[in-house]
Amino acid sequence: MSHTVPRLELIGITKRYPTIVANEDVSLTVLPGEIHAVLGENGAGKSTLMKIIYGAVKADAGTVLLDGHEVNIANPAQARRLGIGMVFQHFSLFETLTVAENIALVLDEPFDLPALATRVKEVSEHYGLPLDPNRMVHSLSVGERQRVEIVRCLLQKPKLLILDEPTSVLTPQAVVKLFETLRQLASEGVSILYISHKLHEIQSLCDHATILRNGKVTGKAVPREETPGSLARMMIGRELPVCEAPIYEGEHRPVLTVEGLTLEPTSPFGTALKDISLTVNAGEILGIAGISGNGQAELLLALSGEVTVEKETIRLDGKPIGHLNSGQRRNRGIVYVPEERLGRGAVPPLSLSHNALLTAHRQGMKNWGLVRYGKARDYADECVNRFDVRGADASTNARSLSGGNLQKFIVGREIMLKPEVMIVAQPTWGVDVGASAILRQALLDLSRTGVAILVVSEELEELFEIADRIAVLAQGRLSPAQPRAELNAEKVGLQMAGLFDHADDGRTAASMELNNASA
């Protein structure tokens, strides 16, 4: 028996919601200075468990021990007083305030911004997370915003730091840098709970791991002694599915081309697109890598037709279509799967057959302006069957589907339109491993029938799995697309920081950021 009192001990934590059990009898132990992974798929109950520790959610049963004492954490403010800090996956920052102001709002101490700014600088430099305390948060990159969140926690001198999927917004280089910071913190005695579904990260960073599946603990492991395969089995209960990319044997011809696309952002905090050119060929998947907020939203608006541009800027089979709106572009065979499933990809309170109608009405579902509901129902049913949408039929409301199943329906609906070009944003965001594999395979199969596919994704692994060529969107500029075989995570990471051959005036700012990240 060890004599060390655990920093955090959870015993038999249970949390039930009306329809699901989020946590059932979960126990785990974290020692001082330990980096402990909580590994699990989306929906496995990781976030609920962390919110219980942080006092944002109340457990139905179970005990939380902090340094050996039972604690009853009623709210996040109390958790912070007890020395628990949390970095959320979705930042809780205020964009119109400065870095120092954001931090001042969480500290229980007299309000003195200049003194705080000095301390922010000191602490951020000590941990290799350089920050300018007087910058407005809306002008920061996503990686810098995360630094603000982390420094904000560190200024409260936490004993336990919880990080929820912290690397989903970081470039590969920034991930390396973050891990160094976390190891430094652990060596100073801070315990870290690290939530992730990324196996290689957990293997390189964490001392111990607790694996959750459907709210229950399915395993405890020392990640370095496991293989990704064995961790994945504990996480999803079977082998990690792999996609197959058949060779395309059809004709190689450019289908969708963009030339010199420059666009002012539509929202005040958006990113301007600068001189973007790209080509998507028949039978291939072009991946656009990069972290959201670098012009992804604007590029997708311009490609889908929600924002129209100069006629000649975008061409389909050589014909100008830049001036056409999204309906007109759909008439010509360009389909689009947006990032937001509920609200843009599908209408939440409507049934799947009504949702099918939204884009598939072009498939003979109208007769003299009247809707042919039978056709819509058949279409939805066929889509449900072909794309393995579970627990649903044509009359199910879109809202009641899980993220993965709804995405299968939306992607399936668009595939069944027999498009010439398909544009997909974040195809597997928040989707479990099994559904992700089905979706990726569906995109690969579709492309090999000669369809030109453009995928915008933050998940680099995903693009390396399905894309034939990859370009990187950084600060509103697009790097030249390169074949996947010539790229690796490190090269793409450098481009994400804005360092690519064509970069000119964007270069200084970008390389400074990179230096900061690796300083």
Binding site: P76, F88, F91, S92, F94, T96, L97, A104, L105, F111
Partner: protein, 306 residues
């Protein structure tokens, strides 16, 4: 010429007082993301409550203003219950509150129609009031005008320099984030709405106990709406709001003088002039969409439940 100008400018300060109080109160509420369209109603409830307290207690304005503030805040709590606790649509709740306030104040006011109050005498501040030109304009006013200067200075300073001001702005931008870091968003919004109600109540009480000083049904005559509009066109900045309020006050006084001089323009047109002039000028100075968007509390009008 100057001797004509001094009374006009001096009168401007008084005519602007209701807009200053109501506008500053609404500005604070909107900074936290709550738009309360019930300002007109709260002003009227404050006006009749203030008038009744002043008339019944015998202490005049000294009793009238606090009574107006209390009544305004209490009226605002009705809005708070529906729009904040139950997260109902803020625009609808605010409109309903205005209609309610008009009706309630008219009902209570029936007894007071024949009354009139003595009003307030200007207090000349020693030395300062002797400054040529500025002295008689700025420093020979009733004490509520001086209070309006203090209210502006206090609110502007609080919003710009204190943790509370920062917190109000933060909640207005993202109640979700404020909740996540542990602030009681609903309670703070309640506080801001109550403050807005109290300020609107003071504005109303000033109208009924100092400015006129008598009770007339629906006597705020749309000033509550102008206050709401001022806040938006002032881009949620207290200094710009003051500018708008004084502009309104100046045109109000000018058109009185114009009527007195017998200028051959229909009275209705002259009476409408302050409203038109204020809106036009503010629209022109706030036409920069970027400034407007950068200052707009991002969660304005959106219901939030933790």
């Amino acid at each position: 010429m100057i001797e004509h100008l001094i009374p006009i400018l001096a009168g401007t300060l008084g005519a602007a007082v209701p807009l200053i109080f109501a506008g500053l109160g609404e500005l604070v509420a909107e900074r936290t993301g709550v738009i309360n369209l019930g300002v007109e109603g709260m002003m009227l409830v404050g006006a009749i409550a203030g008038f009744a307290a002043a008339a019944e207690s015998g202490y005049g304005v000294t009793a009238g203003l606090p009574a107006g503030a209390l009544a305004g805040a209490a009226t605002a709590m009705i809005f708070g219950f529906f729009a904040l606790s139950l997260a109902a649509n803020q625009a609808a709740c605010g409109l309903a509150l205005t209609i309610f306030g008009i009706g309630l104040s008219a009902f209570i006011g029936q007894h007071y129609v024949a009354y009139s109050l003595p009003g307030l005498k200007p207090i000349a501040i020693p030395l300062l009031s002797d400054i040529p030109l500025l002295g008689p304009i700025l420093f020979k006013q009733d004490w509520v005008v001086y209070l309006s200067f203090l209210a502006f200075a206090g609110i502007a300073w609080t919003l710009a320099k204190t943790r509370l001001g920062l917190l109000l702005k933060a909640i207005g931008e993202s109640p979700e984030s404020a909740h996540a870091i542990g602030y009681p968003v609903i309670s703070i919004r309640f506080g801001a709405v109550a403050f807005g109600g109290a300020m609107a109540g003071i504005a109303g009480a000033y109208l009924s106990t100092v400015y006129t000083p008598l009770w007339v049904q629906n006597m705020s005559a749309g000033r509550g709406w102008i206050a709401v509009a001022l806040v938006v066109f002032a881009s949620w900045k207290p200094a710009r709001l003051m500018l708008g309020a004084y502009l309104f006050g100046a045109v109000t006084i000018l058109q009185f003088h114009a009527q007195g001089l017998g200028i051959m323009v229909p009275v209705q047109f002259l009476a409408a002039l302050p409203y038109v002039a204020t809106i036009v000028v503010l629209v022109v100075i706030s036409r920069d969409r970027r400034v407007l968007q950068n200052n707009l509390p991002a969660s304005l009008g959106k219901p939030f439940l933790p």
